[in-house]
């Protein structure tokens, strides 16, 4: 399941492991050889991961083993209590939601959920919500406002589900409503792009006072594959599309679309989920701290100002 550009690194790591085992088993000293390989590994890692292309980062954002919303909720939050249902049509497993404690205070949370196995992924619809999912998220926003709890969203979706069932239950309407509802929160709102930030389906829960992004996550108006299919009638041009779309964390920071990049371990979050979640926890914590001084009206205004300023044009 390794990504193509990870391959040489994984092979080198395996060889070092083997040598270590051999040395221990046989009681021979291979210290020099191992050190040499280790140094080679370090420089290889540096070479591979410092020069990651946008398209490679998209692949890291999708890597199996990368922390999912539930991983985050169960690891860096306490007392996570999942709440289900939209009170209208169904419970959508593509979005998980609930209440929890973060750094000692109660919060409401919602995020896209992908599966870890094929079966789980089918159950989660690959993290592509139906309208019910967004209505569930909006219920959490209501709870957040009602009980003065910050609202934290975790974004990890290829996009809202583009199928008949979703269309006929108002996918466009519910995304618009969710954007509006989140914009109206009278409590601190933080959006975290965890993995994939696919278009309106991501933005629906992305209207934070602050928007954080994991180093190898992406966020775009369209997935690179779909973009390539439209522009060049060829989905294999996705690499080119990824560049054109400027969809990486650093690109988005430059464009002012995200506020903060959460560092991932070399090789991506899936190579050390615990460390990357600790890093995320620190950043959320600092961001909450920063927002805690604002009253409800200030939070509303701050959020409006943030999104009001988005865009590039010439007013000459």
């Amino acid at each position: 399941m390794a990504l193509e550009f990870e391959q040489p690194i994984l092979e080198l790591e395996a060889r070092i492991r083997e040598l270590n085992e051999y040395a221990e088993e046989k009681g021979v000293d291979l210290g020099d050889e191992i050190e040499l390989l280790q140094r080679k590994l370090d420089s290889l890692q540096k070479e591979v991961f410092s020069g990651l292309s946008r398209w490679q980062r998209v692949q890291l954002a999708r890597a199996p083993g990368r922390p999912t919303t539930l991983d985050v909720l169960q690891t860096i939050f306490e007392d996570f209590t999942e709440l289900h249902g939209d009170r209208a049509f169904a419970d959508d497993p593509a979005i998980v939601a609930g209440i929890a404690r973060f750094a000692g205070r109660s919060v409401a949370v919602a995020g896209h959920q992908k599966g870890k196995t094929t079966k789980d992924n089918i159950h989660r619809n690959f993290g592509m919500p139906h309208p019910e999912g967004y209505r569930k998220a909006m219920r959490m926003m209501d709870l957040a406002d009602r009980f003065s709890m910050p609202f934290i969203s975790l974004i990890d979706t290829p996009g809202a589900y583009p199928g008949i069932s979703a269309e006929e239950r108002g996918q466009a309407w519910v995304i618009a409503q969710s954007i509006q509802r989140m914009g109206r929160l009278r409590v601190p709102a933080i959006a975290v792009i965890l993995g994939e930030g696919g278009s309106g389906g991501a933005l629906a829960i992305g209207v934070g006072n602050r928007v954080l992004i994991m180093e190898n996550a992406w966020y775009s108006v369209i997935s690179p594959e779909s973009c390539a299919a439209i522009l060049w009638h060829d989905a294999s041009q996705a690499e080119r599309a990824a560049d054109a779309l400027r969809l990486t964390a650093r690109d988005l920071k430059e464009l002012g679309v995200v506020d903060e990049i959460v560092k991932e371990p070399a090789g991506g979050a899936h190579r050390d989920p615990q460390a990357s979640m600790r890093e995320l926890s620190k950043t959320i914590s600092a961001t909450l701290e920063e927002l805690s001084g604002m009253n409800p009206d200030e939070l509303l205004q701050d959020r409006y100002r943030r999104f009001r300023g988005m865009g590039a044009f010439d007013s000459g």
């Binding site: 809202a160 583009p162 466009a172 954007i179 522009l231 060049w232 054109a244 464009l255 988005m310 044009f313």
Partner: protein
């Protein structure tokens, strides 16, 4: 209002070629229609009622009270902030659309009265990059909503758009949030917003301001949805049901307040605005 007068001016859109197409074939009933007849009939097929697309300028003429419209759009111009290039550079494309439509971007709007009610009216121009929403469209709509709020006007949009503009990538995506949040300026002032969906209204436009009218109207037969039919077909790998994602389907599914024929649109809109706007007697005794 004398509807006939609306179309006295020749349509300037339609671009470069100047060969006059005097006759048109209706894509619905295949009737041959004399173009002037079609224009006199508000671009609605006299045979079957099929609603052809209509230019933004003619929309404004249809909906705004006579001589009441003052354009405010056009003050901001698009830029290629991302240096986006596919088969042609974005900058070149923009210039081509600007020449073709005479507009700086895919939106045309300003202040007016509608049935006597003061309003800001914004119409998307499908001829400009498929009516797609980038930074300029978002900014124009936001300014429009803000002006409506500060001047006590109703806000009216007519959508006709393929969605967010790909060439402005994440910046286009952000316009969904920006325009949506701008509507709250109207909310605070208790001013009405009526959204009219024309063919087609899809993607990030439907999924932001267009869905959020206090009242949402649509023209007959308009394609309306989040995902485009092609994408859905690819996803589910089967044909879409007849009438799927058309106005009448969405009315049944609870997403629209009314499907209104173009001939009745002005009257219906004016009635709604008079009911919901303070100057229309909303708080009267």
């Amino acid at each position: 209002m004398a509807l006939n007068r609306l179309f006295r001016r020749r349509r300037t859109s339609g671009g470069g070629r100047d060969v006059p197409d005097l006759w048109l074939k209706c894509p619905a009933c295949e009737a041959q229609i004399y173009k002037k007849d079609l224009e006199a009939n508000l671009m609605v097929c006299p045979e079957c009622g099929y609603h052809f697309r209509m230019s933004a300028e003619n929309r404004v003429r249809l909906l705004a009270d006579e001589n009441s419209f003052a354009q405010t759009s056009g003050a901001v111009r698009p830029v290629d902030a991302l240096h986006f290039s596919d088969t042609a550079p974005y900058q070149e494309r923009l210039e081509r659309y600007q020449q073709k439509t005479g507009k700086s971007d895919a939106i045309y709007g300003g202040s007016c009265t509608i049935g006597g009610v003061p309003a800001m009216l914004f119409v998307m121009d499908y001829d400009f990059a498929g009516g797609s929403m980038g930074s300029v469209v978002g900014e124009e709509l936001t300014r429009g909503a803000e002006q409506a709020a500060s001047e006590g006007r109703a806000f009216v949009t007519v959508s006709s758009s393929g969605g967010a503009r790909m060439q402005e990538a994440a910046l286009s995506l952000m316009q969904m949030a920006k325009t949506t949040m701008a509507l709250d300026r109207l909310w605070e002032k208790r001013l009405p917003y009526v959204s009219i969906m024309a063919d087609p209204t899809t993607g990030g436009v439907t999924a932001s301001f267009a869905a959020l009218g206090d009242v949402v109207l649509a023209e007959p037969g308009a394609l309306i949805g989040f995902a485009g039919p092609r994408v859905i077909k690819q996803t589910i790998r089967q044909d879409l049901p007849e009438g799927f994602q058309r106005s009448e389907f969405l009315l049944q599914k609870g997403m629209l307040d009314q499907v209104v024929k173009r001939q009745d649109l002005k009257e219906t809109l004016a009635r709604i605005l008079r009911l919901l706007h303070p100057e229309g007697g909303r708080d009267g005794a």
